[in-house]
């Protein structure tokens, strides 16, 4: 996992959940006799006197972690804690507050060229699948259970690659537009940045997101079950603007989008979609695209399956028909029970999932919690999200965080007082077209069990009496 390593004492004291180290044993505060501590990787500690003192506060997650390890509930990768201790329910000894060393010393220097998360957040990271025999043609999951709000940080956006991550020199990168056009054109990155730019928030979801839940609940964390989704503010040029420069011939009905990676990944996209809202983007969340997300240029096809959002975009060819590339025939097609397969099923329909509480997290005690989750729809805005606290018998609308944008992640929230009983919680998204997120049974009835893609069934989590959370049938 390429988690950022901050300057500090990682490996000595700051082992975060996810390292496989019992946190309580390593958890300590570092006390230095007057001089500053400047260390790296736990190797050098230029401090005259150093003592370990038990830290009062973080012991709760440590206990949770050990219990979960015992219970076998910790899936590989990131596991976050819901360390939400309620008033009057703690058996811990409350000590007088210390003045910690970070208050009694100067902090580290200003001016790191690129800031990184706190070393205490090392457990928050992408998780590589174990279902691919290679690390180049593979995928990794966004830790949505550890994140906040609607935007996914650039370093945590899920990945799907077919031939690894290319190292592209933007000065040498070109976009060629040709085929059924009046004039074939070649664009440099500088050319593309001269176009009037737009910045828009859109979700990006792999069509295979949650495929593992199709047949039965897997027991995985929400990162594993729903982590092939991310949301960014994308900046670039409407594809319509670029196509207008080349001038499309009336025969142009489809376009081929091709990547410059070792897979030269290709997908066919209808021109009608291209002229609607497709973007050719060079930036995400305010900075240039990351290499793993298409640097320096990619397609964003709002609301449609991730695979058509071709990364490292080098070529667009207009034609009268689709090209039937390998991706759109053998891979991103949906096999029905009758043996026939659906092709060009681009849309990602409305879906939602509760991210807190979810598997891998633990409720410390009875009392107040806020149920939180994400909802999205490839058809437009989320109109409503309903939450059930009794296994789907009764539902109530959740609050939606503004802004509620079309084809974008929407955060929902619901206040909840847990009474300590076993409780099955679930969410159900409804978009502005009136489409209601279906149950797993409804999906299987319509499509059979041989589908892999476009699974958007209602997800249930069960809060057990000990506060742990399990993945159960909805």
């Amino acid at each position: 996992m390429p988690a950022p390593v901050a300057t500090g004492l990682i490996g000595m004291w700051g082992s975060a959940p996810g390292d496989g180290v019992a946190v309580g044993q390593a958890d300590a505060m570092l006390h230095c006799g007057g001089s500053r501590v400047v260390t790296s990787g736990g190797e050098t500690v230029s401090c005259a006197t150093m003592t370990k003192k038990p830290s009062p506060s973080p012991s709760a997650p440590a206990v949770s972690r050990r219990r979960m390890l015992k219970a076998g509930l910790v899936a590989a990768g990131s596991t976050s804690m819901v360390a939400m201790a309620a008033h009057g329910d703690s058996k811990k000894v409350i000590r007088p507050l210390d003045v910690p060393p970070w208050t009694k010393s100067e902090g580290r220097n200003t001016g790191a060229a690129y800031g990184l998360p706190s070393r205490y957040e090392k457990h928050v990271g992408r998780m590589l699948t174990k279902n691919s025999p290679t690390k180049t043609a593979s995928w990794s999951f966004t830790p949505i259970g550890d994140l906040h709000g609607m935007v996914t940080p650039n370093g945590l956006i899920f990945e799907r690659h077919h031939a690894g991550i290319p190292d592209i020199d933007p000065a040498k990168h070109r976009l060629v537009v040709h085929g059924d056009v009046d004039q074939s054109l070649m664009f440099t990155m500088n050319d593309l940045k001269r176009f009037p730019a737009v910045s828009r928030f859109y979700f990006l979801e792999c069509s295979g997101n949650t495929y593992m839940e199709w047949r039965q609940p897997t027991g995985g964390t929400v990162q594993w079950t729903h982590g092939l989704i991310s949301c960014c503010q994308w900046t670039g040029v409407p594809l319509a603007s670029i196509l207008r420069e080349a001038g499309m011939k009336p025969s142009a009905r489809w376009l081929l989008a091709e990547g410059a990676d070792g897979a030269a990944m290709t997908r066919s996209i209808p021109v009608s979609k291209a002229m609607d809202d497709v973007l050719v983007v060079y930036a995400q969340n305010g900075e240039m695209l990351r290499p793993e997300h298409g640097y320096p240029l990619r397609l964003i096809v709002p609301g449609w399956e991730g695979n058509v959002n071709v990364k490292w975009l080098r070529r667009i060819k207009l034609a009268d028909k689709p090209f039937h590339t390998r991706q759109e025939t053998s891979k991103y097609t949906d096999l029905q029970a009758d043996g026939r397969a659906r092709q060009f099923s681009f849309l990602m329909e409305a879906k939602s999932v509760i991210t807190t509480p979810s598997v891998g997290q633990r409720l410390d005690s009875r009392g107040f919690y806020e149920i939180r989750g994400l909802a999205w729809s490839g058809l437009g805005r989320i109109a409503r999200v309903d939450v059930s606290l009794d296994g789907g018998r009764n539902w109530q609308p959740a609050q939606l965080d503004e802004p509620v944008l079309p084809k974008c992640l929407t955060v929902f929230r619901m206040p909840w007082r847990w009474n300590g009983d076993r409780t099955a919680i679930m969410s159900r998204a409804i978009d502005e077209t009136g489409y209601v997120q279906p149950t797993r049974k409804q999906i299987v009835a319509a499509r059979g069990n041989n589908f892999w893609n476009h699974y958007n069934g209602i997800q249930a989590w069960q809060v057990e009496t000990d506060g742990t959370v399990t993945n159960v049938p909805a």
Binding site: F187, E258, G262
Partner: protein, 244 residues
């Protein structure tokens, strides 16, 4: 971006030489600048329509005000009007090395030829490590077998059982394979490997010549196995609220 940087100099000149006219000229310049900005804004109105809508849940000022919220966005973003003149006109001689796609009717298939017999040796050299001795072993995608399995509980989707077009096989081999060195084999080699994978699936003969016409003419077993119209929504949850 907008041309108003020279105006202070021009204004200074005006003040010195034509003091009585100062106010009038300055007003004119100010108006001119405002008009430039307005033009630029108007040009971008359509491009920015959705962005404006996204930037605020409330109706956007001016152009956005009073517009009904669309139920499903169907706007055409982009710059309206004339072309911007960006990009360099190029001909096929410039992008030929990238123009490698192949369509089911054979468009894009290059000159050259090969046979399964020749492909067998290439397969051993380039493919066997990932796809197995007979194309059935993996560990990567299985290429052979599965015909008749698609409607069962254990479907096996291979080139033979699932892929609708042989042109797709040629296209994919040429653009993406072998994985560690894609786009390094000759067209003849790609034709031979195409033939060999089809031969392993008992779709073509060992000596059948694969070329720009024969690959497009191959009838794949699952040619008619696809439905291209999206039938969704195919579920109808009723959003029941109580006693469901």
């Amino acid at each position: 971006m907008y041309p108003h940087n020279n105006q202070p100099t021009a204004a200074a000149l005006v003040v010195t030489l034509f003091l009585p006219l100062f106010s009038l000229v300055l007003l004119t310049l100010a108006c001119g600048q405002k008009t430039d900005d307005q033009n630029a804004t108007e040009k971008q109105d359509k491009a920015g329509a959705e962005a404006q809508e996204q930037s605020s849940p409330k109706p956007a000022p001016a152009t956005g005000a009073g517009q009904a919220r669309p139920t499903a966005p169907t706007r055409t973003p982009g710059v309206s009007g004339e072309r911007l003149g960006l990009g360099t006109p190029v001909g096929p001689e410039v992008y030929a090395a990238w123009d490698i796609d192949v369509m089911p009717d054979g468009r894009g298939l290059p000159p050259g030829s090969g046979t399964a017999k020749k492909g067998a040796k290439l397969y051993k050299k380039y493919c066997v490590a990932c796809h197995g001795a007979t194309g059935k072993e993996g560990p990567m995608d299985k290429l052979v077998g599965g015909i008749g399995s698609l409607a069962t509980a254990s479907p096996l989707q291979t080139v033979g059982s699932y892929w609708p077009y042989a042109t797709t096989l040629f296209d994919y081999l040429r653009r993406s394979m072998p994985m560690q060195a894609p786009q390094t084999l000759s067209n003849d080699e790609i034709y031979s490997l195409t033939g060999y994978v089809l031969f392993l699936n008992e779709i073509v003969g060992e000596d059948e010549v694969m070329n720009s016409t024969s690959v497009a003419a191959v009838k794949m077993p699952n040619r008619n196995g696809f439905i291209t119209a999206d039938s969704r929504p195919d579920t109808a949850n009723d959003a029941c609220m109580n006693d469901c």
